[in-house]
């Protein structure tokens, strides 16, 4: 039985904040395949293309036939716990601070035996369900969970250490004017977030989301990502208690290069979508990175909501997509820079959303509730990349197959 987490007491300002430490983060090149799969929440292992042997740990050649053609394929995550130990002492600070730590040996139905983390609710010799998760060094690790759900399962200390669960955490939604902000706020509250802050730029203008945000229990605060002072002021006020930051600030207008006259609109897009993200990262990043070991409500994740066309452009929204590409590139840099602290950057890629500025596009479109669902489940699973909705998922599959073919296809879609 997992002991449910309890809301932490108010922080004692005289007490030293625990410095973040990391689990071992060095891996061989071959092992990065596990991390790549974990970023999307897939359970994949090296599978020999020639003889089909599934192997682990990752190698540079097949341990059955010496083939070097070793793609990572999704395999069954079912297995049986063979043996276990509880580590009571470790020379590695991260684990030393977290012992006792349960580890086990699991025989996978797919073949190999893996040494993995073991959830507290797994009973000896039980059938288990393995998950490939990112740990706080940003690397893929395997955790064995009970086959059936158990009470307060997500509160298990090992699972909690890997996830970015909003339960008992405080979340900042940077732009409460985003049409989906109320859905996000409501979903976060439902997922157990103790506090939801919603930023509001241009507070003198009416905010049609205000009532819905307040109804969802969000606290509305002035925050304008185009104004460095405003961002710094807000970071000074709540930077020390933002455990999860969800950047919804976005400037969206249709049109490619030729559909636009001049660069004024593009400048606004870059100012909000790219520079806004940078301002937020500079103001909130250091405080969040310093609080990743701060107990139950430690800082865990930075979420960017991006258009999936950030990865490959399509001309109908060509200029906006270019600003999204800039934001994506910046997010990759942030991810690498935050990694040393354990603060995770999660990008949620969406297709066109159900809102005014995408009105001319045909369905399917992403709704507010769908986006909120993707964000919450991505946080709960501790993902780095989330593909929200059918368009984004379809895009991802096509991108994986051949990015150049996708570019050609998307270029032609604009002609409709």
């Amino acid at each position: 039985m997992t002991t449910p987490l309890t809301p932490p007491p108010r922080k004692d300002p005289l007490k030293r904040t625990v410095s973040p430490t990391q689990p071992p983060g060095i891996r061989s090149r071959a092992a990065h395949g596990l991390t790549a799969a974990a970023a999307e929440g897939r359970f994949a292992l090296q599978t020999c293309a020639e003889c089909g042997t599934v192997q682990y740990p990752p190698r540079d050649a097949c341990c059955n036939c010496l083939s070097v053609d070793l793609p990572w394929r999704d395999v069954s995550p079912a297995g049986t716990l063979l043996a276990e130990t509880t580590v009571q002492t470790s020379v590695r600070l991260y684990f030393r601070e977290r012992t006792p730590w349960r580890v086990g040996s699991v025989q996978l139905d797919a073949g190999p035996v893996v040494i993995c983390h073991v959830h507290g609710d797994v009973v000896p010799n039980a059938r288990v369900h393995l998950r490939n998760l990112l740990d706080r060094s940003g690397q893929g690790v395997i955790l064995a969970l009970p086959e059936e759900r158990t009470d307060h399962m997500a509160d298990d200390p090992e699972l909690r250490a890997m996830s970015s669960d909003p339960h008992l955490r405080r979340v900042l939604i940077t732009d409460g004017r985003h049409p989906f902000a109320p859905d996000l706020a409501a979903a976060l509250k439902a997922a157990g977030a103790t506090m939801v802050f919603a930023g509001e730029p241009e507070t003198w203008l009416p905010n049609p989301n205000r009532a819905a945000l307040e109804a969802a229990g969000a606290e509305i605060l002035p925050l304008d990502v185009t104004d460095t002072k405003s961002v710094e002021r807000m970071a000074g006020e709540i930077g020390g208690k933002a455990d999860i930051l969800i950047n919804t600030a976005r400037f969206l207008r249709p049109g490619g290069v030729l559909a636009r006259g001049g660069t004024d609109v593009a400048r606004d897009e870059m100012n909000v979508n790219y520079l806004g993200l940078m301002r937020l990262a500079q103001a909130f990043g250091p405080a969040m990175c310093g609080r990743t070991a701060d107990g139950v409500n430690s800082a865990v994740a930075w979420v960017n909501i991006l258009s999936v066309y950030a990865r490959t452009n399509t001309p109908a929204y060509g200029c906006f997509n270019a600003s999204q590409a800039a934001a994506l590139s910046l997010a990759q840099s942030m991810r690498a820079e935050f990694r040393a602290s354990g603060l995770r950057v999660m990008n949620v890629y969406t297709g066109p959303t159900e809102e005014d500025w995408y009105q001319p596009l045909p369905p399917p479109k992403v709704t507010g509730t769908a986006l909120a669902r993707s964000v919450i489940s991505g946080l709960q699973q501790g993902l780095e990349d989330v593909w929200c909705g059918d368009v984004a998922k379809d895009f991802n599959e096509r991108f994986r197959k051949d990015p150049k073919v996708l570019e050609i296809e998307l270029g032609q879609e604009g002609g409709e």
Partner: protein
């Protein structure tokens, strides 16, 4: 084709340089001291030594090649044995064949490592790629956690209890109390063993070796050379070596010895009943239990009962790890792969002094090493024979 016997080749000049918990000296220093002592025993000058075999984890950035210049040696036969706990027997196998074939006249086999504050943690953090990719990220319990998994499974499978493993440790501590150079000097009771601080369940403090600095050496030469130099010596009856055996076993409950065990006894022309003492590789007691089974002293899974039925001390009916083994004398890195063999040479040549088993003539020595990921990959064993005390 049957293997050639080791006729005419012998082991002599066993040396143990007393271990220390920590040392400010280097592996070079420790190796030099053991080498010097062995050569001195045989009245050999360093310049005249033509064969050298080295096992060490802490020579970095040097290799045994660099060591020849460092120590002023000019061997025509040089070997590096990076096999941890199997290095003693493996070095013997290779050196014996070199001497037998005339590639070297005399081979000095030496193992040594230093132990600085924090050097064990560093050694651990770069041990193998599989450990880096798939071991360390999981609780970073090091070998303790790996052996805890094997111990857990062994207990489930064969009904072994912590008391059974405790008997091995307590008997070895008794033996160590007779060895003036053992790092552990206080008696150990079964109660103390059972109530010790947990390390990685079911492994507790006294299941773990103490990392120390130290070195061990012996010489391999022709029998007539040993006689000419009036050195007590031991003959090599048989040896085996195996790596990465039983890959289909989901968890290690047996070692590679089981693959080659028949050949070991056949070549030696004797049976386990003819053995006067056994030196197992004892990084953890479960591995000693496994060796008692896999070398044929009892059937698989019956080591717990065997341990209950026998007295494993020097004066007992089954003398085992007579110097106290690594569990009580300390683990000096790669020298941990030599400790049993060097003590066995002393035993069968009647030169073991305070740890001498009365009338010991024939010894079995086993090595086990290199936890690359989830199990020890190297296994080796040798039967040696001397004139006795």
């Amino acid at each position: 084709m049957t293997r050639q016997p080791y006729d005419g080749v012998v082991l002599a000049a066993p040396v143990t340089i007393p271990y220390t918990r920590y040392s400010t000296e280097t592996a070079h220093w420790w190796i030099a001291r053991a080498l010097r002592a062995a050569l001195k025993t045989a009245d050999l000058s360093p310049k005249s030594l033509d064969g050298l075999s080295v096992a060490s984890f802490t020579l970095f950035p040097d290799t045994p090649v660099g060591l020849t210049q460092h120590l002023g040696l000019s061997p025509r036969w040089l070997d590096s044995v990076p096999m941890g706990g199997a290095s003693g027997v493996v070095a013997l196998r290779r050196a014996a064949r070199a001497v037998q074939a005339g590639d070297a006249h005399i081979v000095a086999c030496v193992a040594g490592d230093t132990n600085h504050i924090d050097s064990f943690r560093r050694l651990l953090s770069s041990f193998s790629r599989f450990a880096m990719d798939a071991g360390y990220p999981y609780g970073y319990g090091g070998p303790n956690a790996n052996f805890a998994l094997l111990t857990d499974r062994y207990m489930q499978e064969y009904g072994a209890t912590r008391e059974d493993f405790g008997r091995i440790c307590v008997a070895q501590r008794d033996n160590a109390l007779r060895n003036p150079h053992a790092v552990m000097k206080k008696p150990l009771t079964l109660e103390q063993y059972l109530s010790a601080r947990p390390i990685s369940d079911p492994i507790a403090l006294f299941d773990c070796v103490m990392p120390v600095a130290g070195s061990e050496a012996y010489l391999v030469m022709r029998e007539e050379d040993a006689q000419r130099r009036s050195l007590p010596y031991a003959r090599i009856c048989s040896t085996i070596e195996r790596h990465n055996a039983h890959t289909a076993d989901p968890i290690q409950l047996r070692g590679g010895w089981t693959v080659d065990i028949d050949e070991l006894w056949e070549m030696a022309g004797c049976t386990p009943a003819d053995i006067d003492l056994l030196q197992t590789y004892d990084d953890y007691p479960v591995i000693s239990a496994m060796q008692i089974e896999d070398l044929g002293f009892c059937p698989k899974g019956e080591a717990p009962q065997f341990i209950r039925d026998h007295d494993l001390t020097i004066a007992g009916d089954f003398p085992h790890n007579t110097s106290g083994g690594q569990l009580s004398a300390g683990q000096a890195g790669a020298a941990g792969g030599f400790i049993g063999l060097v003590e066995a040479i002393r035993q069968v040549t009647g030169t073991a002094g305070p740890t001498q088993v009365a009338g010991a003539k024939r010894a079995a020595v086993a090595g086990f090493g290199m936890i690359n990921y989830d199990r020890g990959l190297c296994s080796a064993a040798a039967i040696i024979e001397g004139q006795g005390a």
